[in-house]
């Protein structure tokens, strides 16, 4: 697959795509899902985030998608402090991200084609603008012959591939993926990893949360370990 960036990545303007300083999340001080997390993801970096269930991986990704705000600490995205960003400012940041959710979050009433096209449609693209990109992406994840099917007709692994196609179709500056290979076989897992790596080589910052430590090691990426809401290894 040929992946071309939509625009030159502004790495000269913004050196860190993500920066968390002393971030905690949770409404009870004694039961925080995240505690005192300091983390920097430089532009164009590739990180794996590993840790046992309940370690706080998904919570951290939730903060990065701006679905929640940190209870304490500060969060910078693309060089801007977004710790308490007003709601109206969020779409501009989210349009620079591609997110693979653990529960896929596909729209059941739309076809596979329209699900993958969603980020491009939301930025004002017409069908003519994005049809070729969407079809190419669906071909690449092996669903090119099922463009008109609804998500309900897909298996768990196929849904995951569809969710990944949606996350990367807009060639975002930051990709956040929560267990993106959890429902696919090993071969497809490797293939998806290569997709993330090829996007990373073009300047996209990638953060993958995964249980699969072996895959993380094979990727050659920096591996971050999260346990009990604290970063315990390889933190920046």
């Amino acid at each position: 697959m040929s992946v071309q960036p939509r625009r030159a990545y502004p790495s000269d303007a913004v050196s860190d795509t993500v920066r968390l300083s002393g971030v905690g999340f949770g409404y009870e001080a004694t039961h925080r899902a995240l505690r005192d997390v300091d983390l920097t993801l430089p532009a164009g970096s590739f990180h794996f985030l590993t840790g046992p269930s309940g370690a706080g991986k998904s919570t951290l990704l939730t903060l990065l998608t701006l679905a929640e705000q940190p209870t304490v600490g500060t969060l910078h995205l693309f060089g801007k402090d977004v710790t308490a960003a007003p709601r109206r400012d969020l779409p501009a940041f989210r349009r620079r991200m591609g997110v693979v959710f653990q529960d896929f979050r596909l729209l059941d009433h739309l076809s596979a084609f329209d699900n993958v096209a969603l980020p491009l449609r939301l930025t004002g693209g017409t069908r003519a603008d994005y049809a070729a990109d969407v079809e190419e992406m669906l071909d690449w994840v092996g669903l090119g012959d099922r463009m008109d099917d609804r998500p309900a007709a897909f298996s768990g692994g196929e849904k995951q591939r569809l969710a990944i196609a949606r996350a990367v179709v807009s060639k975002p500056d930051l990709i956040l993926a929560d267990e993106p290979t959890g429902s696919v076989d090993a071969a497809m897992g490797e293939r998806l990893l290569k997709l993330f790596q090829s996007l990373n080589r073009l300047g996209t910052t990638v953060l993958i949360a995964s249980h699969d430590e072996a895959l993380a090691e094979r990727s050659g990426a920096t591996v971050l370990k999260l346990d009990g809401g604290r970063l315990t290894g390889a933190a920046a």
Partner: protein, 293 residues
Amino acid sequence: MIGRLFNARPSLLPRDSGGEAWLAGLIAVLCFLACLSAVGAVAADRAAHGWARQLRAEATVQVRPRVGETGAEAAARAAQTLAGVEGVDEAEAMDRATAEALLRPWIGDAVLPDLPIPYLVTVRLDPVAPASAVTLGRTLAEAGLDATVDDHSLWRGEVERSAGLITLLAAAAFLLTAGAAGAAVAYATRAGMAAQAGVISTLSLNGATDGAIAGLFQTRYGLLAAGAGAIGAGVALLLVAGLRFLGGAEGVTAALPLAWSDLLILSPCPLLAATVALVAARFTALARLKRGH
């Protein structure tokens, strides 16, 4: 791919056929009622203005005979005097038989022969430049006639006030109907947003602005209200046309004279319904999204 390019893009909001069906039915009924109140107001206003116009075009003069003059003679002299006044088309003394005919339905035959019936002159005024009651009274006085002029202003005022009140009531009914439709759409929008919370969250996390998400709801409910408004207006049109066809120019009653042109009043109904729904859905959706949905 070529076929896909020409396909209409599906809405990003899933359909909620059950909830939307009741909303469409409700809006159709409200539009039907609003159309009837609008036509009723126009018809009542037309009737009131017709009556006021008739009252304005006539005056009644009561003549009191002088000593040595009969009532009939005095009335005839008054009619003759008034016939030459500018702004008077015709003046005619009412004979006793005509006056008795007017009173008979109210008091019967038994007492009529003994009743002192006033001597009246009916004056038909120029509809364009009618003579005033003051002019008529002065002319009669100058002619040596003892007379009282009634230009029906008391009744005319009552009729015009009634017409104004009916118009006001119709406007209030319209506003209430629009408000009820808006409230129904707002309620449906809230329910729709609650039902589609997952879809809204997905759209938002993929970069949709609150305005774009609100736009989905306003488009959905605006179109629905336009269709429902057309149905409500269509049924009202059939009813009004039927009444006009069966009842002629006076419709069913003289108090509500219908005209074919009244049907034109119904034409903006779908547009108005869509506008009310669009505004209600947009403001409701934006308010919900601002509160974090």
